[in-house]
């Protein structure tokens, strides 16, 4: 049996020790809690802490800092990605917008915003505020709703015309609608086709004009043939006159077809020029010699001035011959009888090119005609009665010089004092230009 007194002493000690342990642990917990709180506050100096505790606090501080840095970096990366995507979308020429199943605009790029800058302020989330054409907006929404039932990869397309409410300008687009997710959101891409429409319009106008130009010489030829057939041309003089007209018009028709073909080949980039060394001085001499008889018939003085040697360029000889031939030929046709035409070939230091100029002392060109004189089928009205060309000669010249030879072509004129047509093609050797 144990002594009751000593048992009470043991129990008392044990209780005291337990109390002391509880108090100590509470103190330790508070100390650690403060240390942990200190560890989060970088301003608190932890050098006064006991060494193991200071190490723990330092380690904790490092961990917190790392986490903070990682979070900042992560959010920066996410922001950067989002901003890059937005910049990428804004850089697109196509308008891109995301709409939900009710037609509300969730997101859009800068091009989409620019579709209706004025209306945007009213209600930017409305589809018909972004696409300022109620019909087009409704059609796009109908197509987008239809996609909810369709295959997820399905795409719907439609043509959309937007008329600017301020200036009435018409812009055409192809709208492409694709499902984005299961909630019925769709991405709408609007690709502008206005330029294509304009090109098609220009082409159609060209065909209409070309058809007019082709029918005109055909008329004289067909009429002459019928008159022959019906015995209207029994008188030899009348017969000769009508045949001469038909023959001239047949030549014109052939030239017209040739010019149209040459221009369309150059414009389409499928012309195959034979590039070789061409001396523009000797080429001009050949062309001038060929036209001398026609000039004499009209009592015109046709002169050639070739300044020095080394007037070589790299180009297509036949094409460059056509340019000189057209420019000199026009002068021979349109300049009044008794006047002078001077063809000059020289090197130009400034642009390092060989320049051919055709100067005449004729009627000159009215200032209003100068900007359009190289256009297809454009004719100077005051010259129309003098002679009829194909209306394509100068356009062909421009195409040959600018597209095939990377040169320049132009005209200067003062009404009543004649005209100066010129073109320049890069010289073969820059040194020969300076020489």
């Amino acid at each position: 049996m144990a002594d009751p007194a000593s048992l009470a002493g043991v129990l008392g000690f044990a209780a005291g020790a337990a109390l002391a342990a509880v108090a100590w642990s509470a103190w330790i917990r508070r100390r650690f809690a403060r240390a942990a709180a200190d560890a989060l506050d970088p301003d608190v100096d932890c050098s006064t802490l006991p060494a193991p505790l200071a190490l723990l606090v330092e380690a904790r501080r490092d961990a917190v800092e790392r986490t903070r840095r990682d979070a900042t970096l992560g959010s920066r990366i996410a922001e950067e990605r989002a901003s890059r995507s937005a910049r990428m979308l804004d850089a697109l020429e196509d308008a891109v917008l995301v709409i939900d199943s009710t037609g509300e605009v969730m997101d859009r790029n800068a091009t989409a915003t620019a579709l209706s800058p004025g209306r945007e302020r009213r209600d930017p989330r409305r589809l018909d505020a972004t696409i300022p054409s109620p019909t087009a907006a409704r059609e796009i929404l109908d197509l987008a709703r239809g996609l909810a039932e369709a295959d997820p990869t399905a795409v719907r397309r439609t043509a959309v015309r937007i008329i600017d409410p301020d200036d009435g300008n018409e812009r055409d687009f192809e709208a492409l609608i694709r499902r984005l997710d299961e909630t019925g959101r769709c991405v709408v891409v609007l690709h502008e086709t206005t330029r294509e429409r304009e090109i098609a319009k220009v082409r159609s106008e060209f065909v209409a004009q070309a058809s007019h130009e082709l029918r005109t010489p055909l008329s004289s030829i067909r009429a002459t043939l019928e008159m022959f057939e019906e015995g209207d041309l029994e008188d030899p003089q009348a017969q000769a006159e009508m045949l001469a007209i038909a023959s001239e018009e047949a030549d014109r028709l052939a030239r017209l077809v040739d010019d149209m073909l040459d221009i369309s080949r150059i414009e389409a980039g499928v012309a195959r020029p034979t590039i070789e060394r061409v001396d523009l001085g000797s080429l001009a001499a050949e062309v001038v010699e060929g036209l001398q008889a026609a000039a004499e018939r009209r009592d015109l003085r046709l002169e050639l001035h070739v300044e020095g040697d080394g007037l070589e360029v790299e180009g297509d000889r036949a094409m460059l011959g056509t340019v000189i031939g057209n420019l000199v030929g026009n002068a021979v046709k349109y300049v009044p009888e008794g006047e002078r035409i001077a063809v000059e070939v020289s090197a130009e230091d400034l642009t390092r090119s060989v320049v051919v100029t055709v100067t005449d002392t004729g009627l000159g060109i009215p200032p209003e005609d100068l900007p359009r004189i190289f256009d297809k089928f454009y004719r100077v009205r005051r010259y129309e009665r003098r002679a009829r060309g194909t209306g394509l000669g100068l356009d062909l010249c421009r195409n040959i010089v600018e597209q095939v030879h990377r040169g320049r072509i132009g005209v200067d004129s003062t009404l009543g004092e004649g005209a100066r047509f010129w073109f320049g093609v890069p010289a073969l050797h820059a040194s020969s230009v300076a020489a």
Partner: protein
Amino acid sequence: MMEDPTPKTILVVDDEAHIVRVVAFKLRAAGFAVIEAFDGEEAWSCLRDAEVDLVLTDQQMPVLDGIGLARRIAGDPRFKGVPVLMLTARGFRLDPEEFAGSGIVEMLDKPFSPRVLLERIHANLADTTPRREAA
């Protein structure tokens, strides 16, 4: 009824000299008097200087085009009853409103048949009261 010994006068207007020559040849051979003009403005002065029974004009011409010329003729009471025929190489038809306002009685296409052209001129002259009698 005595036949009018004075030949009818046709004003032929086209900026294409060859077309004017060919048409004028056919019409003269058929007994018409022909006045030649090479743009609308020149035709307008011819109309004021001479007695014209019918005008045959092209559409696309410098200075004054065929429609412009036809409108002037239609708007001037001095030329009441003078039919205007248009000979044009344009690939499209005038819209009905433009056609109605111009006073053009008939459109003919280029390339044309001189025989058909002559027939149409005869038909249109027969349809109208001669101007000299109306005046």
